[in-house]
Amino acid sequence: MKKGHIIGLGIIAIAILIIVSMIGDASTYESFETAKAMKMKGEAKPIHVVGELKKSLSGIVEGIEVNPDKTSFYFMMVDNDGTEQKVFYNEPVPADFARAEQVVVIGSYKNEELFVADKILMKCPSKYQENEVSTAGM
C-alpha cells in the first residue's frame, strides 16, 4: 500500500469519526411529552423544547417564581402541543424574559414534575416587525 493511501484512509476515518460524533452529540427538538417519555426510558440527554411562557387570559405572564437570592427561578412554559410544564433555571431571570414571544429550553427532566433547563434561548419581539410609530412629533 502506498503512503498516499494510508493517509487517505486516515482522513476518511477521521471524517467518519467527526460525522458519527456529530450525530451522537446532536440534540433533538422534542415536546414535553416525548421528553418525559425519554426520561422514563432512562435517556438523560439534554433536548430542546420550543414553546411559550404561560399567560393568563389577559395576556400577562404568570408562574414565574424567583428564589430569594435572585440567582435562580421557576417558570411555567407551554410547549407547541399545549402541554404545560414547570421549569427550573439555575440562573437569574434573563432580561426581558416576560416579554419573550418564544422560548427554547435546552435541558432535561429532573423528575416527573420538573424540567431543568441548562440553557434558555429567547425570541424577543423584533423591532423590525413593529407597526406602531410614535406619533409624539405631530
Binding site: 427538538y29 437570592d69 441548562d118 406619533t135 405631530m138
Partner: protein
C-alpha cells in the same frame, strides 16, 4: 417635510451601479477576447465603466449615510437603526446594523479592491476584473429593491417609512415624519463595533481576489501563473479575516455577557471556517511556489474559501439558523437570491476546474516523509478537517431544511453543550497543528533526513520540556490533556523561535513571517488553554440561604446577590455594591444617580447637588448636565481584601425598549489574569410597589428601627423657605431630620410637613437605595412626638457574576504576533510578485 431627493438619488445610484457592473463584465469579456489592436480601446472602455460603477457605489454609501447623519426618520433605515441621541461614531455603526448597509459595505470594499487590482496588474486585469464585475452585479442586486410582478429583487435601504410600515398615521398624514428613530441595538454601541464589521467585510471581500485570479488562470489556461499574484492577496485575506475574528472575539469579551470571547455560535463559526480553509490554501500555495506540487489542492482550497464565505453569508442572513443563534438576523426575503449567488459561482468554479482538471500539472512523485511538502500537506489536511468538523454541525438547520424539502421530518438540534462539543475536537486538532508547525518549519528551511531531523529537534525539544515543566508547576496544570497542550504550545514556540533566530541572523527579517505566525499560534493555544480551561467562577453564593427542596442546594449557584452597602464575600475579595451611576459629559469618571434628576429631554438631567470630582466643581446645584447615553447605568462595586481597598469595577447595564436589559462586563486587568464581572440581574428602577404603611411615633433624640436600619430622629426644624414652594404668611413648615445607618453609610432623610390654614401638606423623603419612603404624618406637641408613616420596598441590589480568566493576555499577545507574522509574509510575497510584474513577465 419629507425629503425624497436623497432617497431617489441613492436608489438611482444603486440601479446605475447594477447596470454598470454588468457593462463592466461584458466589456472586460470583450477585452480578453479582443485582438491586440482593439485591446487598448476595450480596456479604456472597461475601466471607465468600472469607474462609473465605483462612483455609483460610493454615492449609494454616501446617500445612506446622509440619511442617518441628518436624522431623516422619514426613511425606514434611519428610523429603525438610528436615533437622535447617537454620537457620530455610532451613526457609523447604524450604517451597517441593517443588512442592506452591510451589503453596501461589502460592495464598497470590492470597489476599493477592484481599483487597486486595476492599477497593480497588467496581464491579470481583464480576467480578474470580469469576475469582480460579476460578483458586484450579484451584490448590488441584493439592495436593488425592484419588484417585477411577484418577484422582489433585493431590499432597498432607501424606502420611506410610510412604504415600509402599515401604520394608520400615514393614512391621516402621508407627510408624517417621526420625531426620533428607534435607535441602534445597544450591543453595537461599542467602539469595537465601529471597526469590527468593516474589517470582517474587508476579509469577506478579499477572499474574492485569489478566487478571481484562479478563475482567470483556469479560463486563460495559465494553470500555474495565477499563484504568484494571488498568494499575497490570500495572505492579506487570511490576515484581515483573522483580525476580524479576533476583534469580534474581543468585542464579545468586553461587551457581551456570554462569559467569554468565543462561544462556538453559528455566526462565529461561519467566519472561522473560511479562515481555516484560506490558511490551508496559503500553505499549499507556498508549497507550490517552492516545489511545484499541491497545485490542485491549492485550487480546491481557494474555491472552497470563497464559496464558504458566501455560504456563511447565506447561513447568517437567510434566517435558516432561526433559533440556533443568538445573533439572529431577520429574513429580508433575500435567501433565494443569496442561494443563487452562491450556487452560480460554485457552478462556474466546479465547471472550470472539471474542464481543465486533466491539464493541470501535477507531480507524480510520492512525497517523502522527510520532505516539507509532506508535512505541509498534513498540516493543510488538518486545517481542512478542523473546518469540516465545525461546518457540519453548524449546518444542522440546513440539513433539517433539506430533509423537509423532500417531505421528511427532521428534528435534529445543535449539540446542547456547544462549547464542550467543539472543543473536544478543535483542541486536539490545534495540538496536532502546533506540533506540525514545529517540525514543518525545520523541513522548510533545511534539507532533512531522519538523523539531521533528530539532531535539529533535540535542542528545541529539551528546552520546551523544561519550559513546560516550569509552566505546569507554576500554573498548577495537572490535567493530562492540558499538559499535552502546554507541551505542544511551548514546543511550537521554541522550535519556531529557533528558526526565527537563525533566519534573522543569516538573512533578513523578510522571511520570518511563517515562524512569527506559528509562534503566535503556540501562544494562542496556551492562552486559550489557561483562560478557558482554567477560567473559574468565583461568585458562588455564600449567603447560606437554604431552600425547602434540597436538591437545589447541590447545584452551584454561579451568581451572587449584592445588597447595597453590604459587604459580601467573593472568594478572596469582599465586594460592596455602592450604587448606580451615570456618565456625564465633562466629568471624569462616573456620577452617582443620587446627584441627578432626569428631565423630559433625552440625555439630559439636572444636578441635584454640586458635582465635585477631586476638589474640582464641574457642575453646580441646579445646572443642566448632558448624560452620555442616558440608558446606560453603571454599578459601582468596590473590592476589598480584608480591610484594604483594592479597586472598583463598574459593570454596565442598559435598559433598552426594544432589546430589554443589556449587560456589559467590566474587567480588572492583571498581567497574569482578568477578573471579569457582569451584572446578571438588577433592581426595578421604575415606580416601586411600596409595601403597607408602618407607623412610628418618636420623640426627638430617640433611636428606632426602620426594617433593620438603625434610625435616629434628631429633631424637627421650622423652615422659612422650601425649594419649589412659595411659603405664605401664616404657613407653618416643619422638617424632621432623620439619620439612617446602613452598614457604614449614613443616609439623611428629611420629610416635610406644612400647615396652611386648615390644610395639611406632606412632602415625603424617599431613598431609593434603601427602598424607604418616610412621610411626616403628624406632629403631636402635647407628647413631644412626631408621627412617621414609613413604606418600604427592598434595598437596591445587583446580582453579579465574577469569573477569573488566567493568562488571557498570552492569548491576545499571541494573536497580535500572528498578525505581524502575516504582515511580514504578505510583504515578502507581494515584493516577489511586483518584481516579476515589473520585469514584464506577468
Amino acid at each position: 417635510m419629507i425629503n425624497t431627493f436623497v432617497g431617489n438619488l441613492g436608489h438611482f445610484a444603486v440601479i446605475l451601479a447594477f447596470v454598470s457592473s454588468l457593462i463592466t463584465a461584458y466589456a472586460y469579456y470583450q477585452y480578453i477576447k479582443a485582438s491586440e489592436l482593439d485591446k487598448a480601446n476595450w480596456r479604456l472602455f472597461s475601466r471607465i465603466s468600472f469607474y462609473v460603477h465605483s462612483v455609483a457605489s460610493v454615492t449609494v454609501a454616501l446617500a445612506l449615510f446622509e440619511i442617518i447623519y441628518s436624522h431623516r426618520f422619514e426613511y425606514f433605515y434611519a428610523y429603525s437603526h438610528s436615533s437622535k441621541a447617537l454620537p457620530v461614531h455610532y451613526m457609523i455603526s447604524s450604517f451597517w446594523e441593517g443588512q442592506e448597509g452591510a451589503f453596501i459595505l461589502w460592495i464598497f470594499w470590492n470597489v476599493v479592491l477592484g481599483l487597486v487590482l486595476i492599477h497593480t496588474n497588467k496581464f491579470w486585469e481583464g480576467p480578474v476584473m470580469l469576475v469582480f464585475a460579476l460578483v458586484q452585479a450579484f451584490l448590488v442586486s441584493m439592495i436593488l429593491g425592484v419588484v417585477i410582478g411577484d418577484l422582489k429583487i433585493g431590499s432597498s435601504p432607501f424606502i420611506l417609512l410610510r412604504d415600509a410600515l402599515n401604520a394608520p398615521i400615514f393614512q391621516i398624514n402621508p407627510q408624517f415624519v417621526p420625531e426620533d428613530g428607534t435607535g441602534l441595538n445597544p450591543l453595537l454601541q461599542n467602539i469595537w463595533m465601529v471597526i469590527h464589521p468593516p474589517t470582517l467585510f474587508l476579509g469577506y471581500a478579499t477572499t474574492l481576489v485569489p478566487f478571481a485570479f484562479l478563475m482567470g488562470g483556469l479560463a486563460t489556461k495559465k494553470y500555474a501563473e495565477w499563484v504568484r499574484p494571488a498568494l499575497p492577496w490570500a495572505q492579506f485575506s487570511a490576515m484581515v479575516l483573522g483580525m476580524g475574528i479576533i476583534m469580534g472575539a474581543y468585542w464579545a469579551y468586553v461587551t457581551l455577557n456570554f462569559g467569554g470571547y468565543w462561544n462556538w455560535d453559528p455566526v462565529e463559526n461561519a467566519v472561522y471556517v473560511p479562515w481555516l480553509i484560506m490558511v490551508a490554501g496559503i500553505h499549499t500555495m507556498i508549497t507550490f511556489r517552492k516545489s511545484s506540487t499541491a497545485l490542485k489542492s491549492s485550487m480546491v482550497l481557494v474555491v472552497a474559501s470563497f464559496i464558504l464565505v458566501l455560504y456563511a453569508t447565506f447561513l447568517v442572513r437567510s434566517g435558516v439558523l432561526g433559533d440556533s443563534s443568538v445573533h439572529s438576523f431577520t429574513d429580508l426575503g433575500l435567501s433565494g437570491q443569496l442561494l443563487i449567488y452562491m450556487l452560480f459561482f460554485l457552478f462556474v468554479a466546479v465547471f472550470l476546474l472539471a474542464r481543465n482538471w486533466k491539464n493541470i500539472p501535477t507531480s507524480d512523485k510520492e512525497a517523502s516523509v522527510y520532505s516539507r511538502e509532506f508535512w505541509i500537506f498534513i498540516g493543510a489536511t488538518t486545517l481542512a478537517l478542523m473546518a469540516f468538523q465545525v461546518i457540519l454541525p453548524t449546518s444542522i438547520p440546513v440539513w433539517n431544511a433539506i430533509v423537509e424539502i423532500f417531505g421528511g421530518i427532521s428534528n435534529m438540534a445543535p449539540p446542547a453543550d456547544q462549547v464542550g462539543f467543539y472543543t473536544k475536537f478543535q483542541l486536539w486538532f490545534a495540538v496536532a497543528l502546533a506540533l506540525l508547525t514545529a517540525v514543518g518549519q525545520f523541513f522548510w528551511w533545511n534539507k532533512m533526513d531522519g538523523k539531521t531531523l533528530r539532531e535539529a529537534l533535540v535542542m528545541p525539544y529539551v528546552i520546551s520540556v523544561i519550559l513546560s515543566a516550569i509552566i505546569i508547576v507554576w500554573g498548577k496544570v495537572y490535567d493530562i490533556s492540558y499538559i499535552v497542550v502546554v507541551l505542544a504550545g511551548t514546543f511550537t514556540i521554541v522550535a519556531n523561535s529557533t528558526i526565527l533566530f537563525k533566519l534573522v541572523k543569516k538573512s533578513t527579517f523578510k522571511l520570518a513571517g511563517g515562524s512569527l505566525a506559528h509562534i503566535g499560534l503556540g501562544m494562542v493555544l496556551i492562552g486559550v488553554m489557561f483562560s478557558s480551561g482554567y477560567s473559574e467562577v468565583i461568585s458562588y453564593n455564600l449567603s447560606g440561604l437554604t431552600y425547602s427542596n434540597s436538591w437545589e442546594d447541590e447545584l452551584n449557584k454561579e451568581h451572587v446577590l449584592l445588597w447595597i452597602n453590604k459587604p459580601t464575600q467573593i472568594k478572596d475579595y469582599t465586594a460592596i455594591y455602592r450604587g448606580r451611576q451615570k456618565k456625564v459629559k465633562g466629568v471624569p469618571g462616573l456620577v452617582s444617580v443620587n446627584l441627578l434628576k432626569s428631565t423630559d429631554t433625552t440625555n439630559e438631567a439636572i444636578a441635584l447637588d454640586d458635582i465635585i470630582v477631586k476638589g474640582k466643581t464641574h457642575y453646580e446645584k441646579g445646572d443642566i448636565v448632558t448624560l452620555i447615553l442616558e440608558e446606560n447605568d453603571y454599578f459601582q462595586i468596590d473590592y476589598y481584601k480584608g480591610d484594604q481597598y483594592q479597586f472598583t469595577l463598574n459593570p454596565m447595564s442598559q435598559f433598552n425598549s426594544s432589546m430589554g436589559l443589556i449587560s456589559s462586563p467590566d474587567s480588572r486587568r492583571f498581567l497574569n489574569r482578568d477578573l471579569y464581572t457582569f451584572v446578571s440581574a438588577i433592581n426595578d428602577y421604575e415606580d416601586p410597589e411600596w409595601r403597607e404603611d408602618e407607623y412610628y411615633d418618636v420623640t426627638p433624640g430617640e433611636t428606632f428601627f426602620i426594617s433593620d436600619f438603625v434610625t435616629e430622629f434628631e429633631g424637627g426644624e421650622v423652615l422659612t423657605q422650601i425649594d419649589g414652594i412659595d411659603l405664605m404668611g401664616g404657613d407653618v413648615a416643619v422638617k424632621a431630620k432623620l439619620s439612617i445607618m446602613d452598614f457604614d453609610v449614613e443616609k439623611r432623610l428629611e420629610p416635610i410637613f406644612i400647615i396652611r390654614g386648615s390644610q395639611v401638606g406632606r412632602i415625603p423623603a424617599i431613598d431609593h437605595e434603601l427602598g424607604v419612603k418616610v412621610e411626616l404624618e403628624n406632629i403631636i406637641p402635647e407628647k413631644n412626638q412626631f408621627s412617621f408613616k414609613v413604606n418600604r420596598y427592598q434595598k437596591d441590589y445587583v446580582v453579579l457574576k465574577a469569573i477569573v480568566k488566567p493568562q488571557i493576555n498570552i492569548l491576545w499577545a499571541g494573536t497580535i504576533i500572528m498578525l505581524i507574522g502575516f504582515c511580514v509574509a504578505i510583504y515578502r510575497r507581494y515584493d516577489e510578485f511586483s518584481k516579476m510584474r515589473d520585469k514584464g513577465l506577468e
